[in-house]
Symmetry: D3
Subunit: 168 residues, 6 copies
């Protein structure tokens, strides 16, 4: 059985990793869709698709499990979005999502949809991590160490801070 | 004389029907544009273009009047929008709209534009109808019975409720 | 039962009309998709979607049969095309097409697909009609008289001839 | 040395003119990008790209300085935006911008980026000028006289006022 | 009176220059549209919009005449193309074109369209110039000397030759 | 060092596999771009991006080497294509390509570009393999056995044959 999970992963954090580890016991293979792939360089979406792929791949490197990481652009046309995902991915049987729109779209197409159990949502959250980055607080414990390394390598925190500068 | 009216029709309601009945006495044929055709499955735009076409066509079935129902996508380029509408529709002489942008764009292109008289805007309103659907209140009296049937057939209220579920 | 047929209708001719008349005995309602809706003003696709809608609607005016005419743009992404059609149309059960790509795409999605019987393909053909228009030969007998009227009204033959002028 | 500056110029005002005059002493040639070129007919973006090009060209007419005015659409894909600008413009060495996103994108691509000194930002501001237009206050002193003439010619204030009318 | 001319200018050559010189005596201002602006790096369209803008601007530098150079992407939707051009340019009264599609589209919108007189089309032709570049023949006499300089600066002939290498 | 290679992989064959094996000795990681990702269901591009990802991933399963498989749509805008690839992929140092356009675009951006050595191009070729599929000849020996399995699972040969049927 092949599963599908989608997230923006801005950045990929321990909450994502926990969910994926759990799902890996339920399915044979997992497709990880990078949502809003075309977005980057904003306060809510600082990292490019390529950077997010690197975060995930490095984290899962020693993880003995068949997975695929596939960038998926927003297409702003909900009624065809499932079909768009299907065109870009190997076929799958079950979808994992905590997002009501994603769940509705896949359910209407007849997919089995599961709500993955998340824990410590207050800290394991992209919003919280980006907030800490901007405020100079400690964010590294909330992400896998490989993700922290990628973010350092691409100087991601500096990017975020520069993007937050007031225009005139 | 041929007229043009555009709306999102989320859903088509008695206010729309009243306006169309009135216009049908002023023009020989009416083009009904389905605006934001590409949008669906959101709290503000729950229904697909195809579903909205069905609502309108079934309601007007026994209505002895030549009309066209044509889906029109948003193109996010106001200065060419009138030209885009013209490409997709038979030629028309008069535009009916209560929306200031639509009126401005057609007036700049030399069209006669009329503001249709609406009544009972408080109840005959897509916003109000969707609010009632979400809250389990009675919404059926605000739409033609054919529209209520379509919404039941496609399980539209259930869709709206599921879309309103909180993500995590 | 609702059927779907798609064509470019450049222009709508007697062959199309015959097929639609035949299908109308097999289904309760028919959706007529205007393919390549965004194309116009070329030698192969001289007429806009709006003009083609007018040809079809005027021809079928006194035809007692529920049908929908819906412009469908090319999207150059075959794997999502069926989903795109579904978003813009009421649901349908059977597809009529003589085009192998259209048939393949709908069959892969589980639709029943029928090949409509065509006759006199040599004359009832958009290519042949446009050829005659360009050469000043008689083309009117090959199309419904309402179509000939529309083409006259929009001065379609003159357009085609001007488009065929050699550039330098 | 060739410079690049981008703005929405809704409308082009004295603040813009001052900046450009100053830059013209630092570079040999200046490329003036019209940002959000596809936007027009909204309260924040009332003027088309063509109208904005006219404002700038007429203002700089007797200005002895080589410049280029180039419309640049939003592409909603930050990571490729610099490359998109490069494709549409002659090559340049230095970028002038007060916008943190623009600065970040060009700096990541290795460009020298300067923050132009602005003065009287309270009055020399598109937002302030559009506010005055809507309220019938005096706005002409805030723009070059050629810009005021263009806006009169295209009846721009009337457009803005009509766009602000409440829909129903 | 303002005129509009459009070309791909791959590259800008003496034939183009002659036409523009002639037109400059008939109109007060001229808008020069760079067609297929998004195309570059192919055998038929080797130069980017930015490179073509540079060729034209440098050639016309000492030419005392008000002109605008504006890149115009193909939009593959003929029926709205005139409207698209209008959005990106100052208003104009007359169109100069030797292309039958361009002429037809503007004439249908009510524009005066003139066919510019060309001479020595056999040599003053983009196709011929690119052929010579590929074959190592003399092409410089067919273009203004500023264009030859730009092409040398960007190493355009080398690009063309590399693009013609056979793939495997 | 990270490398990048792009192909349409219609289908992935032994020639591709040989090249990738060779490259894997020169780089630490390899990004495999699926070109023309949006294309499928044509005689030249029968397989979807998802199907091609599956072919590659299954073939390389037991291959001890870090690689990424990333679908890349055509964008029909050569001058920004490299930037588009960069946005979707981890950063890379060297590009492998036998296509002159790809080589030119990356070289202009300063990348090291290598021409991979191919052998038996006559048989190890997508064109040849699709020709054999259509003619009922033996094609399986030309692809890895995992690819043959995927094509059987998705009934790819039958799809190709149906797509080749003559329209009327």
């Amino acid at each position: 059985m092949r599963g599908f999970i989608i997230g923006r992963f801005q950045p990929f954090h321990n909450g994502h990793l926990n969910v994926i580890k759990k799902i890996s016991k339920e399915v044979d293979e997992l497709i990880i869709g990078i949502g809003s792939a075309q977005k980057s360089h904003t306060l809510d979406n600082p990292f490019t698709a390529g950077e997010r792929i690197m975060m995930i791949t490095k984290t899962l490197k020693n993880f003995d499990f068949q997975y695929y990481v596939i960038p998926i652009n927003d297409i702003e046309f909900n009624a065809i979005w499932v079909s768009y995902v299907e065109a870009l991915t190997p076929p799958f049987d079950v979808v994992y999502s905590g997002n009501s729109l994603v769940r509705e779209l896949f359910e209407e197409r007849g997919y089995m949809v599961k709500k993955p159990e998340m824990f410590n949502r207050k800290e394991y959250s992209g919003t919280e991590i980006r907030r800490r980055m901007l405020n100079g607080e400690e964010w590294e414990p909330l992400v896998p160490k490989e993700v922290a390394e990628v973010i350092k390598e691409i100087r991601g925190v500096e990017r975020l801070i520069r993007l937050s500068e007031k225009d005139y």
